[in-house]
């Protein structure tokens, strides 16, 4: 019996319309429920990192079919499919927790190779280009290096050592004559593999990999750094500006450039030289 044959009297037609309206309304309600659930479920917790090459989160949920092939091909059991009610990410999507098992940054990136959908972008061919997150030294009050000790562990384990993370020498104001070797992450080279977070010796890591949205600021579109612009232009940006000598601190200070310093024209009566 075809639908056309069934709708042959006004009563049938009315019933057909009523049924359709019911179906439509029911599905609209169910659809709104589903959409609400999705908007709720798509919030990715900060400690859950996506595998290397993962598309931005919004695109990822359109692309990942939650097959787990990336999980299977990860030789270090880094990746895991999220379980409902136990892990934060959308159920069944792959993620890792750096403090549990970090990404070992395999040269051949088997997880990306395994992904059938492109949710993990095959454009990623050099694992050093992965950006799973950015490490941040979140707690300088507990980081042993920041306290003036030589722990250095996060620095030593970094697969991109001396590029993603460096030890920057600073004065140690507490002792007055020691140095602080401050672990310093350089976001343009950090892959977010989480090796540093994993190996931080403190009970709760002082360095953590955060998603870029939390780890990084963004400069306003119109900001220009004068010194960079000057270098780009190869000279001052505005012609004919006289560069006056800088006023330097007076005598008695540790002004190394002009020992003895600038001699003020007016002397306070009774002031010592």
């Amino acid at each position: 019996m075809s639908a056309a044959k069934r709708i042959n009297s006004p009563i049938d037609r009315r019933r057909f319309l009523k049924d359709s309206a019911r179906g439509l309304a029911g599905c609209a309600v169910a659809g709104m429920g589903l959409a609400w659930l999705i908007s709720d479920a798509r919030a990715l917790p900060a400690e859950a990192l996506r595998p290397p090459g993962a598309l931005p989160e919004d695109d990822f949920l359109a692309a990942c079919i939650r097959c787990g092939l990336c999980v299977r091909d990860c030789p270090y059991d880094t990746l895991k499919l999220a379980e409902l009610g136990e892990d934060g990410p959308a159920t069944g999507t792959p993620f890792f927790t750096a403090r549990d098992v970090p990404c070992e940054m395999c040269d051949d990136i088997p997880c990306v190779a395994a992904c059938p959908t492109g949710a993990l972008d095959k454009g990623l061919t050099n694992i050093d280009d992965a950006r799973m997150g950015t490490a941040v030294l979140v707690d300088e009050e507990h980081c042993l290096n920041a306290l003036g000790l030589r722990c250095d562990v996060c620095y030593r384990v970094c697969p991109v050592i001396d590029e993603a993370i460096t030890l920057e020498l600073q004065h140690n104001p507490r002792s007055g004559h020691h140095a602080i070797f401050m672990p310093t992450v350089h976001a343009d080279a950090c892959t977010g593999c989480g090796k540093c977070e994993k190996s931080c010796v403190l009970p709760e890591a002082a360095i953590k990999v955060l998603p870029a949205r939390l780890a990084r600021a963004e400069a306003a579109e119109h900001y220009r750094l004068g010194w960079e612009e000057k270098e780009k232009a190869g000279g001052p940006l505005v012609e004919g500006i006289t560069d006056l000598p800088d006023r330097l601190p007076g005598p008695g200070t540790d002004n190394l450039e002009t020992p003895g310093g600038f001699e003020p024209a007016f002397k306070v009566p009774g002031a010592r030289p």
Partner: protein
């Protein structure tokens, strides 16, 4: 209606052919469901990685990609064009089911089917009322709704709630609280709606049904002249409306069950003591005369009571 309709479903067939034959397709189906599940579990349980992944997407023997075409369509609607591997996988699956019947997925592969079959068994044992029986087209509305939500949210929408993936992926990769979805479907089918989930709502079944609308493999009421109105086929069929046009057709009508709702489960073949039904192909033109003494009264009242 015939007195035989009051006998327990399938009893006559059991007496006539023996229990095994009267359950052969049921047994084959359970074996098939077990087989597909075990293939996926060989890896995680025994380290034999013939098949990796799950029903959403898998890789067999490191070479054969298979992807769920419904998920692939949702992904496309959501705005992602999948890579070739996933597309090839989806085409392979789609072509296979288009040939053997889309809803073969439902009765021979889907891990929720044993759950809803168990629910139906409990429903009958408890003598529950039919409950909510949505219109036949409802699952198509649900299907349309899923695609609309996928497009609007830019996500593969059904995978946030799909009890099939929840169960299958749960067994293979770790369950979490995903079992709640499965229990919900079970309780829904037992207490709220007879054959409610697979028979009326599941958009996956609806999608596969459409996919197999012109499938080759079909069940035919070839020997319908021998039907003695015991109503057992209506009672076991999860989509009993598909039987009527074929079984009760007049001489000129095709005896082949052409409705895409038919899951090719073969249970009607099992329980029929008169051997009315058989698997055949869609172009089988063997003439199948209707029963001559067929009273042309509406068969439906008896059918709905028997089921």
């Amino acid at each position: 209606m015939n007195d035989k309709a009051r006998l327990p479903v399938g009893q006559e067939a059991v007496e006539k052919f023996g229990w095994l034959r009267a359950h052969r397709f049921l047994i084959l189906r359970r074996l098939s469901q077990l087989f597909f599940l075990s293939l996926f579990l060989l890896g995680p349980w025994f380290g034999i990685w013939w098949v990796k992944g799950n029903l959403s997407g898998s890789l067999t023997f490191g070479i054969l990609p298979l992807t769920d075409p419904f998920i692939t369509v949702q992904s496309m609607v959501a705005g992602h064009w999948p890579e070739l591997t996933a597309l090839i996988g989806a085409v392979i699956v789609a072509v296979a089911y288009a040939l053997i019947g889309g809803r073969v997925y439902c009765s021979w592969v889907c891990p929720i089917n044993p759950v809803t079959d168990a629910a139906h068994w409990a429903h009958e044992k408890l003598g529950m009322q039919k409950g909510w029986q949505p219109k036949r087209g409802t699952r198509l509305w649900v299907l349309a709704m899923v695609l609309a939500v996928s497009a609007l949210t830019g996500t593969i929408a059904w995978e946030f709630v799909n009890p099939i993936s929840m169960l299958h992926r749960g067994l293979i990769f770790g369950m979490g609280f995903a079992w709640t979805f499965v229990v919900a479907v079970f309780l829904f089918d037992v207490f709220l709606s007879r054959r409610g989930w697979c028979g009326h709502l599941c958009p996956v079944g609806a999608f596969y049904g459409l996919l197999g609308a012109k499938s080759l493999l079909r069940v035919s009421a070839a020997n319908r002249a021998a039907c003695d109105d015991c109503m057992d086929c209506f009672a076991v069929c999860p989509e009993m409306h598909v039987i009527t046009p074929a079984l009760r057709g007049k001489d000129g009508d095709t005896p082949i069950i052409l409705s895409h709702d038919c899951t090719n489960c073969g249970r009607c073949i099992d329980v029929c003591a008169m051997d009315v039904f058989a698997f055949t192909h869609r172009f089988d033109a063997t003439p199948a005369p209707a029963r001559d003494d067929r009273a042309r009264s509406k068969p439906t009242p008896g059918a709905s009571r028997a089921a």
